[in-house]
Symmetry: C2
Subunit: 454 residues, 2 copies
């Protein structure tokens, strides 16, 4: 049955690719109200695929925003786990259009790659899952129970998914989630993302005089709130790059030797990061490598600054207020609550008495970390090892993914992140592409993964 | 002749007030292209007044923006000085209209005050000068030579006046300028402004990664330019509020005991400043009083900050760049050139090597200070003493006035600042008003001033 499924997948590659191309022609841009009908069309495309491959209870379920596509196949019963497959059918806007070599919604194969908006992020991954499941269904059936949660708002923050999950707890119950909205580290570098950092996002506003003042008539007697803000921000790191909020590192889980070895084995060089970012030198907390700092160490970043006059030229204003957007990336076992308290304690202690500060907590979530030893990670790791001939890297990444945190918080469901985009796939950029040999390997990997679980 | 002129001014008060009201009905808002015709009407109103009171060579002269009104009376010849009277016929926009108790361009007398846009700033002062000169012309003639320079762009920065002055050096030659665009410290507190601070205005841009990065995927390995900017700004003052640019205070002229006594005698309390600004406590360089810090000490102010995401809500961006508008107010004998070099030296020394900084000098001017002993100051001081029965305060103010610096730089002409608005006149705000008893005293003062010079 496994072998038949694999052979079916190989034989049907061209058709699979054609169906992905079909899906890619729908400009399902979730952020743009003009594409409302395309969003609907994309949801219907997914639901019709689910029905076609034998899924049951297929529904397009409303949310306060774009709908969720649901489907399930629970025929194995209690003898095998229930895996939720998460994906999204929306894509990023294609601008700037003039930088595309072929039109973003007219998918085109050039060399080993399929070009088009959504080819990698993540219609390609959704179709890989659909085709893996189809291959199994058509060749003896599924070895595990499956639920599908394919949303339409990932590219705009999954804002309405949270309440959808809350309202559909029973429907969505499962053992763990396979989140295919990820990639691997390289064509020959299979990887599974097992950890994500959390987030605590704040807005800090410093209030000075009751209106913008003339910097000549009042400069020298009033504490400038932009200066006070800069001083407060400057004090949030020490000279070496460590965060100085009191107690910030207290609950940070130490890296084990095994974890550090794992980080050291990742094919992620400082040079690669320099190339990706365009900086001349990396920066950060001393004592940790770049991948460790990104995956396993917390940060405090300034995401935005605004005060006074910011147009072209000059205006001699002493601003009434200054604002910073500040966010901390959190790692196990930090909490949003602690971090907010630490930020408040810092400001209480450090803010000059002649200004007023106002800290607003905007949103956040704790870090997510799946045990390397969980059944899902083991099954995926084994599958990748079979397909690539090498054990995949286990990654802890620096970002935070809404649905991962929502599933964790609402359903206590862990997510395993695995998809088959490559680092140079240009998700969110012009000429987004899916490397096709990796995509076919992905379909094979997914089939093996489900069999390993069953 | 002095007595006749004074008596004429007293007898004609009602007509003078009527003419001022007439002038105030013209909505000469220089910043608003829809008021082009009103700007022309205001210039013509001034030129026709100049002609009516016997001025010669009266012209409306074009600039690259709104025209300048010129007129002269040079009948005394070399036996007496030539005084330029500077003023402007443009006004600030009247918004927010709903806060006015009577329409801004329908001048209304209530109690001792005349309400209307421009009543204090500065059509009231221009008409005071016109009526003082008329009173002398009608009663034996002028004791000094006079030139008029009445511009139409003061409220939008006198941008085109500089090249106008440069192109008309011969026409505008004079001994000193009486700039009536000022006020006195209180109804019973006559004052003359003898000093203004200079300015050196910069834009500092910190370049980090080559694009906005995801703060999760890259936070912790890239120096955040907003943080680097904050650190650089924080280092520009010490903990007590002194500017730390190397050499910043080297050339600052020390205050003499007499100057400090003069500052101490000004009716300017910390409480007044707190009320004006709404701050709970004043701030600034230790060792100097608030009026000293404003008038005679240099500052470094942050005029604006911009970086990353500044909208409502949150965006997890690690910004590609961060920008600050930074300006120094300068005092004698600091120079713009030195200050720019000090800023550069500071940045060269302090900026982290992993970021790139870019400093743009936008504009500036040295400080202006008229000797307390100059003929103009002596003549005005004596006139005020006669009218108010007390010696006026000599003020050094914190702002910079375009035309003062332009006349100094282009013609080596000092300006004496004297006008008759009061601190609560609400220039630039709704319900702008001119205190009429002070205005009549102002006309008398101006007549005496010219006689003292003659």
């Amino acid at each position: 049955m496994l072998e038949e499924a694999l052979s079916y997948a190989t034989k049907n590659r061209e058709r699979f690719l054609g169906e992905l191309q079909d899906f890619l022609t729908i400009p399902s841009i979730s952020t743009d109200p003009e594409h409302e009908a395309d969003m609907r069309a994309a949801a219907e495309w997914v639901s019709s695929q689910l029905a076609k491959i034998g899924m049951q209870n297929v529904q397009i379920l409303p949310t306060e925003g774009h709908p969720v596509v649901y489907g399930e196949w629970l025929g194995v019963g209690d003898s095998a786990p229930t895996v939720m497959i998460y994906g999204h059918y929306d894509v990023q806007p294609p601008d700037p259009l003039e930088l595309w070599s072929s039109p973003p919604f007219q998918p085109a194969v050039r060399g080993d790659n399929l070009y088009g908006r959504g080819s990698a992020d993540m219609k390609g991954q959704v179709v890989a899952c659909l085709k893996a499941v189809e291959s199994m269904v058509r060749n003896g059936g599924l070895p595990v129970n499956i639920k599908w949660l394919i949303e339409g708002e990932e590219e705009i923050g999954s804002e309405h998914l949270d309440s959808f999950i809350q309202k559909n707890k029973a429907l969505l119950g499962c053992d763990f989630c396979l989140n295919a909205d990820a990639g691997i580290l390289g064509e020959q570098e299979p990887s599974i993302t097992t950890g994500l950092r959390g987030l605590a996002y704040f807005e800090l506003k410093i209030h000075g005089p009751n209106k913008d003042l003339h910097s000549g008539l009042f400069g020298g007697i009033v504490h400038n709130p932009a200066q006070a803000l800069a001083e407060l921000i400057a004090g949030m790191h020490d000279s070496r790059g460590k965060v100085t909020l009191p107690g910030f590192y207290n609950k940070v889980r130490k890296l084990s030797r095994k974890e550090r070895e794992n980080f050291a084995g990742l094919p992620l060089s400082n040079k690669l990061y320099r190339t990706q970012t365009g900086v001349s030198a990396l920066w950060g907390e001393p004592g940790f490598t770049a991948p460790e700092r990104l995956g396993a160490r917390p940060t405090l970043e300034i995401n935005g600054l605004l005060s006074g006059f910011t147009g072209t030229g000059s205006k001699t204003v002493l601003p009434a207020w200054a604002m910073a957007k500040i966010s901390c990336r959190l790692v196990p076992d930090q909490t949003v609550k602690d971090t907010a308290a630490q930020m408040r304690a810092y400001l209480k202690h450090k803010a000059p008495k002649d200004i007023r500060w106002e800290l607003t907590y905007l949103h956040g979530a704790g870090a997510a970390l799946v045990s390397d030893d969980s059944p899902g990670v083991r099954a995926m790791s084994q599958a990748m090892k079979t397909v690539w001939g090498k054990t995949p890297h286990l990654l802890r990444e620096g970002g935070s993914i809404g649905v991962v945190e929502q599933l964790q918080r609402r359903l206590r469901v862990d997510s395993l992140l695995s998809g088959f985009g490559l680092p140079d796939c240009d998700a969110h950029s012009p000429n987004e592409k899916q490397h096709l040999p990796t995509w076919y390997r992905g379909i094979e990997t997914l089939i093996r993964f489900f069999y390993n679980l069953g």
